[in-house]
């Protein structure tokens, strides 16, 4: 056994964020009722970890006896998770103060969940994937029920926990079957023997169980049932975090297992994933039309977006991977932006969450309405916003892998989605109403949301910024 202690100093993004999580917890426990301190500590921790991630974007090195990868692909994914966590924390402060649930633990849990996500993206071993998923999920179960005296929050937390525990069972059983047939949990070694293993039915059952577990985490049909209820009951900023950070982490694992490790192109796994993708796009988009609650609408839309991204996984080629990485970078910011604006509008006891509450918003708050319109256009995939190129790249990957039918379903269902995204824009701009935001939006939250919108426009105008970085990971 070689000396792995020095590896602690190399896994800087994960270790530094974990240290900050512990420090924040100590600060929160030591100073009573000063959650603002925890707020700043957690933001500093995220910035530090993001700095380390940027510094290690170039090369990737295996650490801890090839358990973790440091740098490259994982660093890029880290930046997505950290961006999501940062925005969520900035938005949460005012939101929680308004609901009188401003506690330091909230920030500690968000950072710990982010550490779990980073472990998932960095994992080179199935056990680390399991560890990361659990660390992330357990924090999210608690966060979903953070408004603990609200009945719906309790419901969403319990539902998420019970179904999540079930999905974990699938994950472990799948890992056990893969270990039983491949003789190792190391991803690189499994990948080497994948051509022989793909004819072994036990191994394929194990891989299928992994698909079930990961599809649950990304909320793809038919494992999506929890998403609308959980997103509706959770604090709005946590719905934002779950639908962006957690989903991005699950996709990072999807990519690293099913594209980077298994060469699934042309196997049965690819067909299964293609069908899940197609059904997710259809069910997500069609059901979203019928929703009147915005949080539920965004939940179904996030199911549809999981479907778009899964078509990149089903393609299983280089274009699929770069497409998903691009899609995630865009999706995280547009979805968190939309949820963020909903959290500004929302009133006590789940009021002001329906479409009609947004009628005439543009006359009262032109800036907020404009930002919301940008996020909706981007979610609908209208150029020049980043959402368009995300869809373009994943559908291109599907076509290159010979799955033209999947791309056609994708394009047709995104046409359906335009209806319910633009319905909100029409209400905000072309209907008279008394939509207003009761309390003043805090300057940091406004700045954060504006940055997200700006990022979407820049990414939409210069998509090669991200694609070049993403393509670089494949050469290593």
């Amino acid at each position: 056994m070689n000396n792995y202690l020095t590896d602690f100093w190399q896994a800087t993004p994960i270790v530094s964020l974990a240290i900050f999580a512990l420090l924040t917890l100590i600060v929160d426990a030591a100073g009573k009722d000063k959650p603002v301190l925890s707020y700043w500590m957690s933001l500093i921790g995220i910035v530090v970890a993001a700095g380390f991630s940027v510094a290690s974007l170039g090369a990737s090195t295996p650490l801890f006896n090839t358990m973790l990868a440091q740098g490259g692909y994982s660093s890029y994914c880290n930046l997505i998770f950290l961006g999501s966590a940062f925005l969520c924390i900035v938005l949460s402060r005012n939101y929680l103060e308004r609901l009188q649930y401003h506690r330091g633990e909230f920030y500690v849990l968000i950072i710990l969940a982010t550490v779990g996500m980073m472990l998932m993206a960095a994992a080179l071993d199935l056990m680390i994937i399991f560890l990361g998923i659990e660390l992330m999920s357990i924090c999210l179960y608690v966060l979903a029920g953070f408004i603990r005296k609200k009945e719906k929050a309790n419901e969403s937390s319990l539902k998420y926990f019970l179904l999540g525990a079930f999905a974990t069972g699938f994950l472990l059983y799948g890992i056990a079957l893969i270990y039983g047939t491949a003789g190792t949990t190391n991803l690189a070694l499994i990948g080497k023997s994948f051509p022989q293993l793909s004819h072994n039915s036990l191994f394929m059952i194990g891989a299928g169980m992994l698909i079930v577990a990961f599809s649950f985490k990304v909320a793809a049909v038919p494992f999506h049932m929890w998403a609308p209820d959980v997103y509706e009951g959770s604090p709005t900023t946590i719905s934002a975090f779950m639908s962006t950070g957690a989903k991005a982490a699950a996709f990072a694992v999807f990519v690293s297992v099913f594209i980077r490790t298994f060469d699934i192109g042309g196997t049965k796994l690819s067909d299964v994933l293609a069908i899940i993708a197609a059904v997710s796009m259809i069910v997500g988009n069609v059901t979203a039309i019928a929703q009147n609650n915005l949080k539920r609408m965004l939940a179904y839309s996030s199911i549809a977006h999981a479907g778009y991204m899964l078509s990149g996984i089903a393609a299983g080629n280089i274009e699929g991977e770069t497409g998903i990485l691009f899609y995630l970078s865009a999706y995280v910011f547009m979805n968190i932006g939309a949820f963020g604006i909903i959290s500004w509008m929302e009133q006590q006891d789940d009021k002001k969450l329906t479409f009609d509450d947004y009628a005439g918003l543009s006359s009262q708050h032109p800036a907020v309405a404009a930002l919301m319109a940008i996020f909706m256009f981007s979610l609908a995939g209208i150029p020049p916003f980043a959402g368009f190129f995300g869809k373009y790249y994943v559908f291109l990957a599907a076509v290159k892998a010979g799955m033209t039918w999947l791309a056609i379903i994708g394009v047709l269902t995104s046409l359906i989605s335009v209806y319910y995204y633009l319905r909100l824009v029409v209400l905000m701009y072309f209907r008279d109403g008394q939509a207003s935001i009761e309390e003043k939006v805090s300057a940091p939250a406004m700045a954060a949301i504006s940055c997200a919108a700006l990022f979407l426009i820049v990414l939409g105008l210069y998509p090669s910024l991200v694609v070049d970085i993403a393509k670089g990971f494949f050469k290593i």
């Binding site: 056994m1 792995y4 202690l5 512990l22 917890l25 929160d28 426990a29």
Partner: protein
């Protein structure tokens, strides 16, 4: 490969059959003289007062959860202590990190008053 397990399967089947046969024989041939007392809940000779299904204070759960957390710590400490010499400095520092993380949790629990009963 599976042939080696045949004795175990025979043993399992035999055990299950023996258990079922014995219970069923008792049911068929045993004398039955039911009285009302025989059907009441047995509670060390005491008269049962009411149903046991009611709400308990959260404190009991807190104690149980904390007990499990710190109990599991000991489970990890034992194998480490047994192989302490072989693991050397590496093992010592890794365990120190683990204990430190646990201590942070302990400090948090203590400060938040979860260890106080009232």
């Amino acid at each position: 490969m599976l042939e080696g397990y045949i004795p175990i399967f025979v043993m399992l089947a035999g055990g299950a059959a023996f258990g079922i046969v014995m219970v069923k024989l008792n049911e068929l041939f045993g004398p039955k003289h039911p009285t009302e007392e025989k059907y009441t809940t047995y509670e060390s000779g005491m008269e049962p007062v009411k149903s046991a299904r009611e709400r308990f204070s959260i404190k009991f759960y807190m104690v149980a959860v904390l007990f499990i957390l710190f109990d599991i710590e000991v489970v990890f400490l034992y194998p480490w202590a047994v192989t302490f010499k072989g693991l050397g400095v590496n093992g010592f520092i890794t365990m120190a990190v683990f204990i430190f993380i646990l201590l942070v949790g302990y400090y948090y629990v203590w400060r938040k008053g979860a260890l106080e009963w009232d």
